[in-house]
Amino acid sequence: MALDEKNLEAMLDQYPAKVKRNRKKHILITNSKEEQIIEANTRTIPGIITNRGCAYAGCKGVVLGPLKDIVHITHGPIGCGYYSWLTRRNKAKTEEPGKNFLTYCVSTDMQESDIVFGGEKKLSKVIDETVSIFKPNAITINATCPVGLIGDDIQAVAKEAEKKHGITIMAFSCEGYKGVSQSAGHHIANNGLMDQIIGDGELEEGPKGKYCINILGEYNIGGDSWEIERIMKKIGYHIQAVMSGDGSYEELKNAHVADLNLVMCHRSINYIAEMLDKKYGTPWLKVNFIGVQSTINTLRNMALYFGDQKLIDKTEEVISSELAKIEPQLESYKKICAGKTAFCFVGGSRGHHYQALYQDLGIETTLAGYEFAHRDDYEGRDIISEIKGDADSRNIPDLEVTPDDKRFRLKISPERLEKLKEQIPLSNYKGMIPEMKDGRVVVDDLNHFETEEFIKALNPDIFSSGIKDKYIVQKMGIPSKQLHNYDYSGPYAGFNGAVNFAKDLSMSFESPTWNFIIPPWRETPLLEGSIEEGEA
């Protein structure tokens, strides 16, 4: 089934006229012959049931939350802190005993009197208690909506506390009303980490004789980054820091020593990648470890960047040994998956990444989109200069960085950089749309109403999204695969992850459950003929 402009119009006609006009700009049918523009990162219309969260969710929940040796204090009433308590399934292990605080939800639990009289005093008491209870390596303070409104100066409280306790204490003004989605919070978190942690360490360079990298925008959902690290270590890379899955303050403060930054989720972390380039002269490479072929491409691109024949050979050796292991396993799953269609609607990069994995398995993605991405994630970075800011984007401060006097070091010559840029996505991202076939639907900020309508129109075999839309889809008799938290499964990244994913999908397709949807009395009259006793 396909969708054309006419059915799309008819579908959108069900909206009030103003809403229709707005939503139309967020939806397109891919056509490589035209220059296509999609609207993104603008405010969701009130009353339209979006999957987006808030700046606090992006800052505390996504970027900072996984940093395991830091205690993240939510400054606000209890709800926000509770709701972001370990909800993203980031995994972490720690070498330092007692320095993994991921399972804790720490809140100032503001009461009415704090709203009326201000919450600064309570916050500083909570910081004191946090230090004495946990003895963390650092502390973050995350503001929720009321904090900004009552005018608590959390930056000042953090500074005071830092002096008192002698550890890094950072305040993030990520009130939920800032920006239009989690995306604003990513930006705020990125600025803070760049400003206050990265570069704080003493290291001047990585371990001798090893290529040293950071993995940015990888959150270790279901153990993804462990699989990625396994492959990298096999090839011989040294991973300095992961931002921020299974990450830590201790690693992050020396992230400046890397020779290359890998960018997994472009949306949530490209700010840091750009700033690291400017400040330390480290380029970034857009990577994708979701899917077999894209993992291979990524590994080859990395080897090409370093241009060392030994590394290139080792990379090829690891690729073939990994393939030899997984290909027999994938075979039977591919048979089940082949010819199926999928919807792929996820946060800010997976909507793109998972299309590759679907393709590996012979599944066509007929609709894709992002929850909180910007235009460059759809159309590529070339259009960044065209993006006009609005009131919502202007209230997030930009951080100005300059080359570091001591530590700036060009990692590769400008000539080689330019040449490499033609071959690999170095400091560049081309976006999702150019990689999609024509006639596919791209939707920004898909909502509940449209989910239902698009399913009716395109009838996919699998719908991959999050928990909020999962049940609508399942109620419509279509299997769903949560790509935010993986339905308690994973990892899905890398080579072994692809097998896990194929297995989980096949299990959904093949589940006998679907056979029982139509009861026997609807299909054929019961008791056609007679049943002889004892025969069955």
């Binding site: 209890i78 709701y83 993994n100 009461q111 209870i133 909506c145 939920g176 009303y177 919502d392 209230n395």
Partner: protein, 462 residues
Amino acid sequence: MEKEIIYSRNVNENPCNMCMAMGGIIPFKGIEESMVIIHGSQGCSTYMRRHIAEHFNEPIDVGSSSLNEKGTIYGGGDNLKKAIDNIIKVYNPAIIGVLTTCLAETIGEDIDGIASEYLKEKELNNLPIITVSTPGYGNTHAEGYWAAVKRIVTNLAIKKEKGSKVNIIIPQLSPADIREIKRLLQLMEVQYTLLPDFSDTLDRPFERSYKKITKDGTKIKDIVEMPDAVATIQMGVTIEENYSPGKYLEDEFGVPLYNTPIPIGLENTDVFLSLLSQLTGKEVPEALKQERGRLLDCMIDSHKYNAQGTSAIFGEPELVFAATKMCCENGIKPAVVATGSKTAKLAELVKPLCGDASLLDEADFVSIRSISTEMKVNVAIGNSDGKYLTEKEGIPLVRFGFPIHDRIGGQRLLSVGYIGTTMFLDRVTNTLLENKYNNYRKEMYQKFYWEPKKKTLAVPGS
């Protein structure tokens, strides 16, 4: 964790409750063709939908007025009106609930004013918009729930003539529990209005055509007629009067109020059925007497195992009270009885049952944990967040209440009535037995062969 218990802390470490607006959503999900809008920035509603969906395994549509920074300065009236507009267009609801958030309350939004202005502008006379003030810093989700039920009643109820129905007002139970209560009412041949009835809306059977909102749930007309009832039975012994819808019906319309415990536990179920019998003049039918007999039989079978149980019970006050009662009836000793709510009532009610238990209100899991280990608790009863007690201290958890997000089927857990109590008690007993068998060998070994080493203190993150 340091061993000393710090009672007067400022920090809330691992909360035992959620915020008011979260609780306020649930009752609206139990009214026919209803929709809810959260007035504030959109994060709150997204977070809440996520958590409710995870518990019930159902789609949870809740709108948001998506306030932005500008709205925080100039007020959010326009946004809220737009939200109502779009919700009407897409869902065509028969009733809309509007709940506030910390943000809306902090900037002092007049939601009543905005709602009535909207209705006037659009000349809508037949669409009730029910506003509820639910600031997150006000109280917990449990009070948010009651606040919403009360506003629904105060907004809709109109006295006409004397009827013959009984009002049944319930706290947040599982859909399976609600269905069981309805079955009991049917067996007792009672005409009733049950509010809020989310037994079908939040545990919907699979059907071929998906409907966004349905006619299931309490009928609006029935809520309007609640003042005509002969009595109100409100399962709300722990709620404060200002949150009590039953009290309102009594004060305003003279409907006699019977505040009873949730019928979990033998005696609580006896109370409920006797009351129904007294109100209707009908005898408790044979079928229910049989169920009572079976529960008693179960209690006799289990009491020897349960006598070895020491429990920590936590969650919403009303559920905690009922579960505590059930434990006491069969010899499971409650050592910690805790709620995240601010309430003195729970402690008052629980004291006569188990005076030496630690009674905590405004509790977080750190306080529950430290007392549980001190008192050698061997079974925890409450929502999924108690899994922390299992992970850190090895205390097994019987999942009960809301939210249950790490197991499937929270919506199907049956705990009310004689049958439900039997099943609930079995769950507790079996957990104690499993724990006992698992530790049996270890304990024997330790008793007879093993020289204990000095216990090392647990540290956070361990």
